[in-house]
Symmetry: C2
Subunit: 448 residues, 2 copies
Amino acid sequence: MAASSSSFCHKNALSLSTPSNNHTKLTSRDSSLRFPPSISFNAPRFRVSLLSKSNRNLILKASATSAAPAMDQITSSSSSSEVPTSVEVDLGNRSYPIYIGSGLLDQPQLLQKHVHGKQVLIVTNTTIAPLYLEKTIWALTDGNPNIKVESVILPDGEQFKNMETLMKVFDKAIESRLDRRCTFVALGGGVIGDMCGYAAASYLRGVNFIQIPTTVMAQVDSSVGGKTGINHRLGKNLIGAFYQPQCVLIDTDTLNTLPDRELASGLAEVIKYGLIRDAEFFEWQEKNMEALLARDPIAFAYAIKRSCENKAEVVSLDEKESGLRATLNLGHTFGHAIETGLGYGQWLHGEAVAAGTVMAVDMSYRLGWIDDSLVQRANKILKLANLPTTPPETMTIDMFKSVMAVDKKVADGLLRLILLKGPLGNCVFTGEYDRQALEDTLRAFCKS
Amino acid sequence: MAASSSSFCHKNALSLSTPSNNHTKLTSRDSSLRFPPSISFNAPRFRVSLLSKSNRNLILKASATSAAPAMDQITSSSSSSEVPTSVEVDLGNRSYPIYIGSGLLDQPQLLQKHVHGKQVLIVTNTTIAPLYLEKTIWALTDGNPNIKVESVILPDGEQFKNMETLMKVFDKAIESRLDRRCTFVALGGGVIGDMCGYAAASYLRGVNFIQIPTTVMAQVDSSVGGKTGINHRLGKNLIGAFYQPQCVLIDTDTLNTLPDRELASGLAEVIKYGLIRDAEFFEWQEKNMEALLARDPIAFAYAIKRSCENKAEVVSLDEKESGLRATLNLGHTFGHAIETGLGYGQWLHGEAVAAGTVMAVDMSYRLGWIDDSLVQRANKILKLANLPTTPPETMTIDMFKSVMAVDKKVADGLLRLILLKGPLGNCVFTGEYDRQALEDTLRAFCKS
Ligand SMILES: NC(=O)c1ccc[n+]([C@@H]2O[C@H](COP(=O)([O-])OP(=O)(O)OC[C@H]3O[C@@H](n4cnc5c(N)ncnc54)[C@H](O)[C@@H]3O)[C@@H](O)[C@H]2O)c1
Ligand SMILES: NC(=O)c1ccc[n+]([C@@H]2O[C@H](COP(=O)([O-])OP(=O)(O)OC[C@H]3O[C@@H](n4cnc5c(N)ncnc54)[C@H](O)[C@@H]3O)[C@@H](O)[C@H]2O)c1
Ligand SMILES: [Zn+2]
Ligand SMILES: [Zn+2]
């Protein structure tokens, strides 16, 4: 059988090397398994071995073999001669590095190393272009006069993440006669990254692609993992491709211009990594949330690196979304219902995820799977990050249920959820839970 | 470096097993090499070993180790209990079979074996739907009541191979709530196959895909190799994906309704395989062209099988188009100029390729690379197939030159061409030829 996104591949032989301070390398080999109704993930950071695999249970048992690098070990890359912090995403011959640090756009050689061919198309939007386009063009061309850089500036907003806007990217590429060796560069948040990535995947059946994410959301989540795509009038992200970049360049300085709400929204995903698989990181966040809100570049570089490591690890083990990758959606099923119920654009994605996370945590507690103290800690850190911890008042039980009924994670009529189970940093992806707990959670968070 | 279509990968370790009568299996391992200015391909059928690899030359040396199956060894699959002839396309975990024979759509189990999930979307057009849609739905559902089959009927014609029409496929898939395990089925010629394949590659970032090609062109060429895509207002096939199907099902009975001109157009590609890499097949064609024109199902099954073997072999060795795969474009550079010069839709693709092939053969002769007898044989067989052997009178030298100047095969200002060199069945892909020969060929075939 040829592989495709619907042949659900799990991995059964994992070997994750212990991360060094600046570089984490992950490797995986794969086999396959179909739709287990329940998968447990016990904090599988840094060393993972498969203990048992059956049709009903895939258990990834973890033993933490290295302490996380302490914060003071992290170097701030403000001097442009320093080697930047990097995370390697291991996907065989499609592996690529994520560079993280302050001032990386001031290091032209870093970007240029990953540009193949002599033609570049920067895809950005009307908000980001005045802030960072000139600098990015400089970084691509400085000391590199033979390169031709074009750019296309799209309208800003999720409502433009569609086929019509995508065609503008193709128009520009074709009018500029870009050939197969060209490189597309996404300069912006998740919307730009997703669109530019899909355009790169499709233009001449695939050209080089570089991500320069400029929101927390894009830096810790959307730029890692290769999911690209656009929305359809009838649903989000329905058309797209799995497509990996040549590199991801995260200049934390770009966060200085990001609106507060956008910053907090991205932190919801950072908190998620701690809850589902990285207790140590969660504890670090509890101590450093204020530094993050103050946009401390060293704290941010660390939070981004650790987030990227977590996501890269999950993606390396499960590139095309089977079980493990689903755990990245903690809080997203409830959150998606909120986004749909309110209409997209009312709450930011991370805001909806934050409220959804509180609901998932509440349900986990009702099932007896976690302690009350963990419920308190999750609530507290989300509040610290200025994120909502309850759904909007207008959300009803029926609104939640109707959206959840058509969730992608429904298999054979069963809604599978990501829930916490065990000590901090452990979760399960399962359809085997007492329906009453879900009812009770919905009732507790909705007025009607 | 992550692989992509612009990191030019050649293969340096090849092991092609000798084909058995019903089944050819190809395997390959890969390495990489960039843009050699000249690549020679000596009839590398059935056993290929790499003798030398340098930055400037990749030579695939062949030794024919098995006689081709004689025509009378080919069974006609008119009885539905027979095992159909098949060709295996070996692309690692994306390998798939091509089934070839008369009456294959009357064997529901054959198709159903490759349908995963319970939802199918048939993509076809207004010409083919009245002829074969009902039969295809029957083949998918007979004895398989749990399956839900939807269909979308597109307008017929190359002018509809665009984003607007593609969106109709997505609309239908989404409205029908098709999930990731669904299967898209392309029922039609190359236009439908290319569009449906790209839709399957993009819907939910990739779903299962089956090809049921119904033109000679699609059966011998476009359904094999994984190239999918649509046209852009400014050029053909500029947006798309490399995407492999679960299987290709070729029912030769569908050719009975194909217009004569379309039939002949497809034969141009069949003749191409003989010229570039399969002398024995070319000789078979010289003897059996009349049977093909009379749509003899046994002759056609053989011609299709042998064509698919040739294309599958090339694609297995060079999936993402580097040097070897380019040889499939014999006659296409001149042909493309004719299609562009006349305006698309005046001449069929195979008609333009036929005239283009004569021009490439003429140029090869002027370079002293082939004998006069080969020139005569190429001309004769194309005429036998009712194909044009000169470009339209309206084509001028300048029209050829202006289109050829922007051909995709131009690298560093040099137009690389596929030309014949040596005995029948051998070709080169090269930019190293005397420019005067090209001038002389253009002058010989154009009035001004
Ligand atoms: N591919 C994935 O795996 C994945 C994962 C998560 C989210 N996403 C997608 O990402 C999108 C959300 O991403 P987002 O939250 O980055 O939204 P976004 O791209 O819309 O950016 C948010 C806003 O911030 C602005 N902005 C971006 N960078 C800025 C900067 N440095 N300074 C000032 N303003 C700036 C943008 O112009 C926009 O107005 C959604 O479409 C979602 O589907 C994808
Ligand atoms: N993907 C590839 O590798 C590849 C290779 C070659 C060509 N192509 C593409 O294929 C397309 C050309 O394919 P084509 O020549 O099959 O053209 P086509 O799909 O337009 O079919 C030709 C005509 O025949 C009709 N038709 C199809 N099957 C029929 C049948 N059984 N009976 C009666 N009528 C039938 C069609 O409706 C159409 O009118 C082009 O768009 C070209 O770019 C792709
Ligand atoms: Zn999210
Ligand atoms: Zn062709």
